[in-house]
């Protein structure tokens, strides 16, 4: 099994930390992982993306030109990465701020209104965990126990009291995921 | 022959009034006759011998006339790249905190190419001793202008005299250094007379002893001559130094026990 994922959105949306929690959960589940961010000034308010690969085998390139899954959180990223999803692959997006919906006919498309839901609950900080939940519903690569460990490893100790909240958000995300096009 | 034996007879410990320290290697110095470096090398090595710290001292020589100081000083030494001695000393002292570490640098080394290393080592308060020989000229390379060359003074690269409008001003780096909170002892000495050499040695002793206190940099400037570079006889050079260098670079302590010395 090898799952190649791109997570892309604005800096500040928690794109990189979502990827890190997913990757660390993979480590806890004894998988090979890589987490390759875009880095530099573009992170501040501009676009941010991270390639996460989870595999049972040694990972070849941490840099990819196509992905099994694209998790897309803003329009620029939709423009850039919709075309990079492998045929038959998965695209998950948050419709908030999306002006042009995905148009590919050869991939599975799901939406998740994580921004709206997080705003409704006044929990904008766990927005990314809602999105992660949506992804894990489709691709249960790591079990909840190892996600818990991944959260413990990724978050600084002083934030460990927030882990239950994050786990709830992941569960919430699983229920929020809406199919738009299923092959 | 008889005379020679007679000389040997009086070589008894109780008769010795002067002896070259064992911490100077028995070989000819490469310094010009009349130059202050020889005396400065000697009083520094005498101090280390008297303190009994030969096995715990690491010295750093610069690029300049004293580049070969490690050949004369019978202690473990490193030859630094031009200007970088304070960076070497910083690392060595931090890695060997119970050792005594000194740099021995000239004016070009310390106050031109190595200004950043000098200022930052002093500002960090590294627990080291810096010996700074200021003869206002680049002696080794043939007498070019130094950062400390006096206004109007002639050198190979200011043959009509230092014009401060074109070449900038002589740098009083010791005054500058004394203002930094990381320096604990800052003094300016000379070694051109026995009295001055004794005072300079006392200052070096204090500068080395201070390392036991762990209070920051001890900085000893020695205003010196360069009869070759100044194109004078040794006596002329010393006289010229008294008349021209000392008014601009006045001798005495600038900072003692971490406190600036007030000018009279």
């Amino acid at each position: 099994m090898t799952e190649e994922i791109i997570i892309a959105g604005f800096g500040g949306q928690g794109v990189l930390s979502m990827g890190k929690i997913l990757a660390y959960s993979g480590v806890m589940q004894n998988k090979e992982v890589s987490w390759m961010p875009s880095y530099g000034p573009e992170m501040r308010g501009g676009t941010a993306n991270v390639t996460v690969i989870i595999s049972d085998e040694r990972i070849s390139s941490p840099i990819l030109n196509e992905f099994d899954t694209a998790i897309i959180l803003n329009q620029q990223s939709m423009d850039k990465f919709e075309k990079s999803v492998k045929k038959g692959g998965l695209l998950i997006y948050d419709p908030n701020g999306i002006t042009r919906k995905p148009s590919r006919k050869d991939i599975n498309i799901y939406s998740i209104s994580a921004t709206d839901k997080a705003g409704e609950l006044g929990l904008s900080k766990i927005f990314n965990m809602i999105v992660l939940g949506g992804f894990l519903k489709m691709k249960p690569l790591v079990n909840p126990e190892n996600i818990h460990k991944g959260l413990e490893k990724s978050l600084p100790k002083r934030h460990h009291n927030l882990i239950p909240e994050n786990e709830k958000a992941i569960e919430l995300g699983k229920s929020l995921l809406t199919p738009e096009q299923v092959l | 022959m008889e005379e020679a034996f007679a000389k040997l007879d009086i070589r008894k410990p109780e008769n010795i009034v002067y002896k070259r320290t064992d911490l100077l290697v028995d070989r000819p110095l490469s310094y010009c006759p009349g130059c202050g470096h020889g005396v400065a090398n000697r009083i520094l090595m005498e101090t280390i011998e008297e303190m009994g710290i030969q096995d715990k001292t690491i010295g750093i020589s610069p690029v300049g006339c004293s580049v070969l100081a490690y050949d004369f000083m019978n202690i473990d030494m490193l030859g630094a790249a031009h200007g970088r001695a304070p960076a070497l000393a910083t690392a060595i002292k931090r890695l060997w905190p119970d050792h005594f570490v000194f740099t021995y640098q000239g004016d070009g080394d310390l106050a031109a190419i190595g200004t950043a290393e000098t200022i930052h080592a002093c500002n960090r308060g590294e627990n080291i001793t810096i010996i700074f020989i200021n003869n206002a000229i680049y002696g080794m390379t043939g007498g070019q202008m130094a950062p400390t060359t006096l206004e109007g003074m002639r050198t190979a690269t200011c043959p009509y005299g230092r014009d401060v409008k074109i070449m900038g001003n002589p740098l009083k780096i010791t005054e500058l250094i004394s203002q930094l909170p990381g320096t604990y002892f800052v003094t300016r000495q000379s070694v051109h007379t026995p009295v001055n050499a004794r005072r300079a040695k006392k200052a070096i002793r204090m500068a080395m002893e201070n390392q036991k206190l762990n209070k920051g940099v001890s900085f000893v400037e020695i205003v010196s001559n360069c009869n070759s570079g100044w194109k004078m006889t040794p006596n002329q050079a010393n006289k010229w130094m008294e008349e021209n260098m000392f008014p601009f670079y006045p001798l005495g302590d600038l900072k003692v026990d971490g406190k600036l010395v007030e000018k009279k």
């Binding site: 880095y39 390139s61 | 490690y70 473990d76 490193l78 690392a91 950043a116």
Partner: protein, 360 residues
């Protein structure tokens, strides 16, 4: 044994330094490697292992702090990225000349000049051909994973002390910034001063009665003496070439073609192999791990077995010179490169292979 963590390449370097028993890190911030100094300052090893960590006033000061520390036999290291490494060249050649051990890490970014903060491999020449003056060599290790960023810190120190020569880890911004699973080796205690003095009799540690004073210098004004110094260095480099060549071969057994690549490019080529083999192209990868000493003999042997080689580098064609010198001109050897911080994608590498080697 060991400890599993998800870490950035830069963090792995820092953690490995502490675990390897490093005595001192001296460095200056520059993107994309500042996490190394940040990690060390956060970890405060000076309170645990006693390792000194100091933010210097410049890269010039950092490298000269290494000269000082290395000259006293301590395990010292620095890290920087391309422009900072350029500033260090003076100190590096002095250390090579004075035969001092130290570990340098270059997390390469695109150049020339201030360039970009994105990853590049354009410092190959500088690292392996001697960026400073004089006839000298660095031991150059090219990690292709975060695990190797960790492991090569220890290996780099071992080789640096074995040969009394500076060693460099030549990485890049991507490997520095990406996170992978790392199996951290168990901590090794720092050497005591007594151990150091007995293991490094050449080091300036304070003159003992039973030995002559030690002088650490790269200066010998007598040309005959300086020639002797050079001959000694060359003999040492020959030893390295005989004993320390490291490389990796991936799917070379049945290969008709080869990618030759180091570091991140080699990782990309591994994906390109998957893509090319799906198309029925029999291709493998030869990855030099030591860029100096270079695996010349191994490449010469492979050149007798394959039809062509594509050298993939994030530069305008640097390692290809050494590949061609090794392989001779019996087969086609071409270069594919992206520069200025652009990372080639696996599919474009396959296209380059088809155009330049197979079709060409």
């Amino acid at each position: 044994m060991g400890e599993l963590r998800l870490m950035k390449g830069n963090e792995a370097v820092a953690e490995a330094a502490i675990r390897a028993g490093c005595d001192g890190y001296f460095g200056y911030p520059i993107t994309p490697q500042s996490e190394i100094l940040e990690y060390l300052m956060m970890a405060k090893p000076y309170e645990t292992t006693g390792m000194v960590v100091l933010q210097a006033e410049s890269e010039v000061a950092s490298i000269n702090m290494l000269y000082g520390g290395g000259g006293t036999g301590k395990m010292v290291m620095t890290s920087s990225s391309s422009p900072g490494i350029s500033l260090m060249q003076e100190g590096i050649t002095y250390m090579a000349g004075a035969e001092l051990p130290a570990l340098l890490v270059n997390v390469v970014r695109g150049g020339p000049g201030l360039g970009t903060i994105q990853p590049s491999q354009a410092d190959y020449f500088q690292a392996v051909k001697g960026g400073g003056h004089g006839d000298y060599k660095l031991i150059v290790l090219a990690p292709a994973s975060v695990q190797e960023m960790c492991d090569f810190v220890k290996l780099g120190f071992d080789l640096a002390f074995k040969y009394r020569n500076p060693a460099m880890i030549l990485s890049d911004g991507a490997i520095g910034q990406m996170m992978e699973k790392v199996n951290l080796f168990d901590p090794i205690p720092r050497r005591t001063n007594e151990e150091l003095i007995s293991q490094c009799p050449w080091a300036a540690t304070g003159k003992k009665k039973e030995r002559d004073h030690i002088i650490i210098t790269s200066l010998d004004l007598d040309p005959a003496g300086q020639e002797k110094v050079n001959l000694k260095l060359q003999a040492k480099y020959k030893q390295m070439e005989e004993n320390e060549v490291r490389f990796e071969e991936i799917q070379c057994d049945d290969a008709e073609y080869l990618f030759v690549a180091f570091g991140l490019s080699a990782r990309i080529c591994q994906k390109s192999i998957e893509l090319a083999r799906e198309k029925g192209i029999k291709i493998g990868l030869f990855r030099p791990i030591t860029l100096y000493p270079f695996p010349t003999k191994q490449i010469a042997a492979l050149a007798k077995k394959v039809k062509g080689m594509l050298v993939v580098e994030m530069n305008a064609g640097q390692m290809i010179e050494d590949v061609r010198l090794s392989a001779g001109n019996q087969i086609k050897i071409e270069h594919y490169g992206r520069f200025g911080g652009i990372i080639p994608t696996p599919d474009e590498v396959v296209r380059a292979l088809e155009q330049k080697i197979i079709g060409g």
